[in-house]
Amino acid sequence: MTETLFNKLKEVVGCNLPASEAQIRAANLKLKQDGLPPLPEEFAALLKCANGFSNDDVRIFGAELKNSSYFDDLFTYNHSLFHGKPANWLVLGRDDYYFLIYIPSIQAYQLVDQDTLQPEMSTETLETPLLSILRI
């Protein structure tokens, strides 16, 4: 499933190198220390195909990215957004208007308006909101 999605993505968007198990573990540890939810499994599996995606002004964050100007680090972004305080959702990516988020309590991926946090789309799986925010 993840591989099919990745194959679809790699044709049209910028893909980083795959994330290692160690990078995923390190990101989860940091998220836990900040009181943030861990990476959802489906998303973590996708990062193992490519550790971050880019399509012009759209960014899907990667795990434990250092010195990358093309791909943004997920923990750094969430840490800055929540100011190091606990939260019950996680931002996985963004464009100019929307956040792609994951809410573990309802096990849902959502596209939410950045100003109002009103959801535009809510799904159990990653594919639909991911393709939508990446404009595919």
Partner: protein, 411 residues
């Protein structure tokens, strides 16, 4: 989100907040560039701070100014910016409507996203979801001038050209013509997206190319040599990356991660972004000058800039501590005016590759295209040599050179 700070005694005068010393330094720099006949400025004094440290210093000064707006914090911010060749500007605040912002952004990108259903107007939602309620209308039944939203769209020539397609879309959904004034910007986006999108895609390419791609092509055609030279002087830069980037820019593309030639080693190479010198959010400033809001996407109002830390620093005043974007509005009771503050590159800069590396606008400096001219010179000169080699029939001696140098019309 908008934050209003009620203040008195601030420097809130409209325009650039630049000290006399800095002004003189910038003027001298321009004179030096003119003398050297180049538009590339590379600061000779090495900056002791890293780009990240400068960015953090700017961010801290912005946060201090926004949380405690006084003459002191404003002057300190202006000084930190000056030291790093950036300029603090303030404008009388006049909110740009969301419709104008959205239309300008779509024109910049060249595509129209499919809006979510909850953002459509009640009439559009009804006609979309209940085909039985649709009226039997023809495209010619619609007079778009009745819509205030269309009057915003049509200020962008490329959108104005979509008038017939929009009328066709309105007829397709059977929108009652008398309901046109009730349609919102997102309804027009929905119709445009519907008319132009290819199957299976959320975005519709309405223009051949957006203003961003157009600017990119024009910039690289004008400044290829200086851009290459400026990038190549950066620490850790890779030649293969620079050449691929320039080649992509000639096709209007700046995001190299999408390139078929993308190499993972490039992930730490500098990303260049197109930046609006006067922010899209401040298009009303243009309108106050008697121009259309759509001129925010003009060639003159755009420049290239390295994404981090320079581009992020440029937007540091619009970011709060949580990295959210917002607008800070300052109210000066003494003169009863609202102001906004923005960070901009120095006047006449077309590309900012570092806090001390710029490419200036050739036209504004009145400097000719030296490198390109040289290339042009080489061609006829070699032709002249070839002709000479061919024999006396084609040999024209020194006629090709005037007293003042090369005479392009000699051949």
């Amino acid at each position: 989100m908008a934050y209003t700070h009620d203040i008195t005694g601030m420097n809130a005068a409209q325009g650039a907040h630049l000290s006399a010393e800095k002004n003189a330094e910038l003027l001298k720099r321009i004179q030096d560039l003119k003398r050297q006949n180049t538009v590339l400025h590379q600061g000779s004094v090495p900056n002791t701070k890293s780009g990240d440290e400068i960015y953090q210093e700017i961010l801290d000064s912005c946060n201090k100014f926004v949380s405690t707006p006084t003459d002191d914090t404003e002057n300190k911010l202006a000084k930190v910016l000056e030291e790093n060749n950036l300029v603090l500007h303030s404008y009388v605040y006049d909110k740009t409507s969301q419709d104008k912002r959205d239309v300008a952004r779509m024109a910049f990108n060249g595509y129209v996203d499919r809006p979510p259903e909850f953002k459509l107007s009640p009439i559009m939602r009804e006609m979309k979801n209940y085909p039985q309620k649709r009226m039997q209308t023809k495209p010619e039944d619609y007079d778009l001038s009745a819509s205030s939203v269309w009057n915003v769209f049509k200020q962008v020539p490329e959108f104005a050209a979509t008038e017939e397609k929009i009328k066709k879309g309105l007829a397709l959904y059977g929108i009652p013509p008398e309901k046109l004034p009730e349609l919102q910007c997102k309804d027009f986006c929905f119709i445009l997206n519907d008319q132009y999108r290819s199957s299976g895609k959320d975005s519709a390419k309405v223009f051949q190319e957006g203003y961003k791609a157009r600017f990119t092509k024009q910039f690289i055609a004008e400044y290829e040599n200086e851009f290459r030279q400026g990038l190549m002087s950066m620490k850790g830069i890779r030649k293969d990356y620079v050449e691929s980037l320039i080649s992509s820019m000639k096709r209007g593309i700046t995001d190299m991660s999408k390139s078929p030639y993308w190499k993972p080693e490039w992930s730490n190479q500098p990303v260049v972004d197109v930046h609006h010198i006067l922010n899209i959010k401040d298009a009303s400033v243009r309108e106050a000058e008697g121009k259309s809001f759509a001129s925010i996407n003009s060639y003159e109002n755009m420049c290239f800039i390295v994404r981090h830390p320079q581009h992020n620093a440029m937007h540091a005043l619009e970011q709060d501590l949580n990295n959210n974007y917002h607008e800070d509005i300052f109210y000066n009771r003494e003169i009863d005016k609202k102001y906004i503050y923005r960070i901009q590159p120095p006047e006449g800069v077309k590309c900012m590759l570092g806090f001390n590396t710029f490419i200036y606008d050739r036209q504004k400096l009145g400097i000719e295209k030296s490198m390109q001219q040289q290339q042009k010179r080489e061609k006829p000169l070699s032709e002249w040599r070839n002709r000479r080699a061919e024999g006396p029939k084609h040999f024209r001696g020194n006629q090709a050179f005037s007293r003042n140098g090369y005479d392009r019309n000699a051949f």
